[in-house]
Structures are given as C-alpha cells and as structure tokens.
C-alpha cells in the first residue's frame, strides 16, 4: 500500500510503472486536513488494501516495453508544425493543456536533414548511447534504490535521464538541439549538459566555462540574461526540451516544487562565464572544478525555484559611492563612512542573505566588482567562499526556529556535522553554519559595467549531487 497525496497521483503512477509496479494500491492523504482527522479518512481503506483480494489485472505480470520509433512523423513542414505542437490535457491540480514534445513555443522541425547537420557538430556517432565520460558520484535515483541516494557511476555507464530514467542516443539529443534552434557548433555543449541526465530540476541553469564560450559567441557581457544571443538562448532551451523529451518531465507534475515551477525553466537558462573579467589569481569555473584553463565545461546549477532569493539589492550609484569615497548608506551600514574603497561589498549583502533561508549562494557579479573583492584582499575565490561560510554561523537556538532544518536534521535525530555530536546534546549557543561547505558557494563573473549583483539561492552543489560539471571537449 502506498500512502501519498492525491495531487501527485499522476506522478506516482508514472513512477510506479517505471518501477514495474503499475498497479500498486494507493490511498490519499490530505495536504490540508490536520493529522488525526485525516487519518480517520484514510486509515480504513489503507488497511483494507492489504486484505482486499487482488483483481486479475493486479495479478498480472509481464514486460512493459513502449515503442519509440525513430521517425515520429512524416509530412509537410506545415503539418509537422501542428504535430509537434500538439498538447494533452493534464488533470487537476494542473488542469490545463501541456505540449507533449515542446516547451509550448514553436520549434524548428527536426527533419532528418537538419538532425544530420546538427550531428556534424560532434565526432560521436548518431547511434552512440549517451554515457558518462568520466567516473563520478551523483545522487541519481537508481532503479530499486532509494530516491536521491548517492551512487558511484563509472565512465561508460549509460546516463539515465530524469525523472523517468530513460536513456538516449547522440542522435536523440541532436533532435532536441534542432528543435531548440541550436547551431551545430553549439552541439558539444548540449551533449555535455545531456550527460548530466538531471535537467529536470525545479529551476535549472546551465553555466558554460572555458574557451568554447568565445568559440560559439556566447554573451557574457551586458544583458547576458536577456534574450537575443543564439547560443545562450538555444542551449538553455535545449536543456528544457531534453528534460521533457529525453527524461519524460511533465512540468508542473513530476518536478520538485511543481506547485509553482521555476522561472528559469520557462524558456531554459544558459549563461557563460566571462573569463577575461576574472581578477588576477582568480580561477574560472572550469579550473575551480578541476579542469584546465583551456578546457571547456558545462555545469548544471539548480538555483532554488521558489525558496528563491533573486538579486542583491543595492543601487549601482550607491555602490559606486561606497567604493569611490565611502559615502552613502552602504558605507554607513558597513562602518566605513568616508573611507574610500576597495570594500568588501558582500558585508552589505550578508546582512540579509540567510534571514529566512539556509544554504549556499551563487553570486553572479560584474568584472569590476570582482576586482574590488580581489583588491580588498581576497586573492583567491576560495577566500571569499571561506568568508561567506564563516558569516553564515548562527546560534543553535536560532537555527531551531527555521523551516528546513527540521528536514535536514531528520527531526533533530541526527548528528551535527561540525561537532560530531547529537543535535540534542548541543547547547543553545552552539554556533551552526547555514552553509554546509565553503566551496558550495560559487562566484561567477558576467555582465557589463554597471555595478549589479545577481544573488541566486543555491550553490554549485544544489542539484544532481556532487558537483555536476561535464566536459564539453569530451563531446566535440
């Protein structure tokens, strides 16, 4: 018997089928009715499900092997436009049509000719299965394994695309890349993102680092988050199409935080790092993650979709006043009134970073601000991460009055990491870090001259397990 919420019935049925138990009996709990009254409603059916005789269908075994023809449609381009844009109605709580093969917007029809052209962007064969190009540890959900459990994966293991654990070939990735409007030269980046298999997050962002950024003309400067750049836009969109088509994602149904979804997932989000904007001694994302400066990578970030903290609130003019002459409100709060910079502006933002959330952050800052941090004294990005981590400590008595720690500590039954002691043994004034590891924080350099910061809740380790970074060069 499975006890769950009725609004996730669609997802549970999908998962049960993929796990080989499509007929598992389910009983629904309520999200609103208080526990004791709710139990009254379902405890009878829950127990009866253990004794009620099985139906013929429930007794039936066999093999489920859905067909997936390579050619999905034959017709004119006009007919294909209609075919690929078809929708199906998703029952409540969504209760609206969703596109079956797309993100809802028109796509470029994946004709054989166009897919062949896309495949010219890689040396990998069309029928090659997408496999891991290096050994790694991930939180991939294994068949028969606990959801989210860490597993070790070896180079050559087939990538399972989440959420339905499907596999895919290079050609199938190319089909999605065509549909997204990618050019063949973008394809190795799309393949690297595909290697993650985990593009079904509640708010996914693909970050590209290394020489490929310039090679394919990604925008790392002014307006890099805005539309218009073909590589930024279409690679991000390919990520979402792969989640839907390769992984079987049904946005609003089988994603975490489906109740609202994630703003980055609307059209897909891909950005790139401005390596030229790095201060001296600061390493780019590729080098931080163990690759060489001349190697290109794609990393999958999962900034929180709903428990989000977008943007750091300071006025560019106020920031300039702080750094130029120590004037203005930022300087007053930081206690540096009248003292010219460089100042550590993160001190200003740290005031509210963890006011109502826990965990690491990804900061996207413009080159000038990165240089201010460097000139202030952070000669390595790691120094900033360490500073942020130390800033995150709060007394245990305050830590208890938050939402997520109930979950993170398993109801305060586990061991506190920094002390090695049971949570219930620690005194109220014991200082607890709100960021698990300094390196979970991440700083990316992008943007133009105006002094702004994009603060994203969720660091580099917030999705797909231990650092989901993938070589682009392996897919050239």
């Amino acid at each position: 018997m499975l006890l769950t919420f009725d609004d996730v019935a669609y997802m549970n049925r999908d998962t049960a089928r993929e796990s080989g138990t499509p007929n598992i009996r389910m009983v629904w709990a309520s999200r609103r009715t208080p526990g004791p009254a709710d139990v009254d409603n379902y405890i009878g059916p829950l127990l009866q499900g253990l004794t009620r005789p099985l139906t013929e269908e429930e007794k039936t075994g066999g093999t489920w092997s859905p067909e997936n023809p390579r050619i999905l449609f034959e017709g004119t381009l006009e007919e294909a436009d209609k075919f690929y844009q078809q929708t199906r109605h998703i029952p409540p709580p969504l209760n609206a049509p969703l596109a079956i093969y797309t993100d809802g917007s028109a796509i470029r029809i994946p004709t054989e000719e166009r897919v062949k052209e896309m495949l010219s962007g890689t040396s990998h064969k069309p029928d090659e299965l997408i496999t891991y190009q290096s050994d790694r540890v991930t939180r991939r959900t294994e068949v028969g394994g606990a959801a989210g459990a860490s597993v070790e994966l070896r180079k050559g293991d087939a990538v399972q695309f989440q959420p339905l654990k499907r596999t895919a070939t290079v050609e199938q990735v190319a089909v999605n890349a065509v549909m997204a409007g990618c050019k063949p030269e973008f394809f190795p980046v799309v393949l690297a993102a595909a290697e993650s298999g985990t593009l079904n997050g509640d708010n996914v962002m693909i970050v590209v680092s290394g020489p490929v950024v310039k090679e394919i003309g990604m925008n790392t400067g002014n307006g890099f988050l805005d539309p218009g750049n073909p590589a930024n836009n279409t690679i991000g969109r390919a990520g979402q199409l792969m989640a839907i088509n390769l992984g079987g994602a049904v946005p609003g149904v089988n994603r975490m935080h489906a109740s609202m979804g994630g703003p980055f997932n609307r059209g897909g989000m891909c950005i790139a790092e401005n390596a030229d904007g790095l201060p001296e001694g600061w390493r780019g994302l590729n080098e931080e993650m163990g690759f060489k400066k001349n190697e290109s990578v794609a990393m999958i970030f999962g900034p929180s979709g709903i428990q989000t903290n977008f943007g750091g609130q300071h006025s560019p003019g106020g920031y300039r006043a702080l750094q130029k002459s120590g004037h203005g409100g930022m300087a007053r709060r930081m206690g540096v009134k009248g003292i010219p910079g460089p100042h550590n502006f993160l001190e200003f933002h740290a005031f509210s970073l963890w006011a109502n959330r826990e965990g690491a952050y990804t900061f996207i800052i413009v080159p000038e601000m990165a240089h201010h941090l460097h000139d202030y004294g952070f000669k390595d990005k790691k120094d900033v991460y360490e500073w942020l981590w130390k800033k995150s400590f709060i007394p245990l008595k305050d830590y208890r009055n938050r939402s997520w720690p109930d979950l993170i500590t398993n109801g305060w039954m586990g061991i506190e990491k920094t002390s090695g002691k049971h949570w219930k043994e620690l005194p109220d004034d014991y200082m607890v870090p709100l960021v698990a590891d300094p390196f979970d924080n991440c700083i990316l350099i992008a943007g133009g001259p105006e002094e702004v910061i994009l603060t994203l809740s969720g660091g580099r380790n917030s999705t797909a397990g231990s650092y989901p970074v993938f070589s682009v060069d392996a897919w050239r």
Partner: protein, 94 residues
Amino acid sequence: MAEKEKIYKCLSPVGNTEPVDIHPLAPRLDKIDGKEICFSICGEPDITIALEKELKTRYPDVNWTIKKTYGTNPVRLSEEEMKTCQGVIQGVSW
C-alpha cells in the same frame, strides 16, 4: 513538387524506456491481526505521528515494524525484514 508540399521525415525527440518487468502485486493477507506489517513513511510529522498512533491503537494485534524519517527517502527494510514482513505500508508525504 512545390517546396511547401515536400514530405519530410521528422525524428523523435523522445528518450528510450528500457523494457520494464511488471510485477504482479504481492498476495493479499487473509487478515491483519497477528501479522507482521512494516509501516515505512517519510515526510511530514503531522501525518507520520498521527498515523503511527492510530495504527497501534486501532490494530493492537498487528506486529508493527515502524520505519520513519523526516527526509525525502524512505528508510529501506533490512534483508531480514524483507523476509519476515507480511505486508508493507509505504508513506510518502511530500
């Protein structure tokens, strides 16, 4: 043939579902009294606490094995429990 009427073969973007062995449901119990039933639940205490209390109160003759966690992943049954449990109630409240 006009370009507009040209017939194209268009490829599928859908990933491959590996064949899945479908398991029939386990045989049902003739009664629950006297049986060993595992109650494994993950998620919200507003459900887990109330349900555990009611199960034990209303069905005192069942030999309950309770597995619960606040987290998102159910606590797995041990090999021994897999052999001895005659029924499983799995709760996922997220």
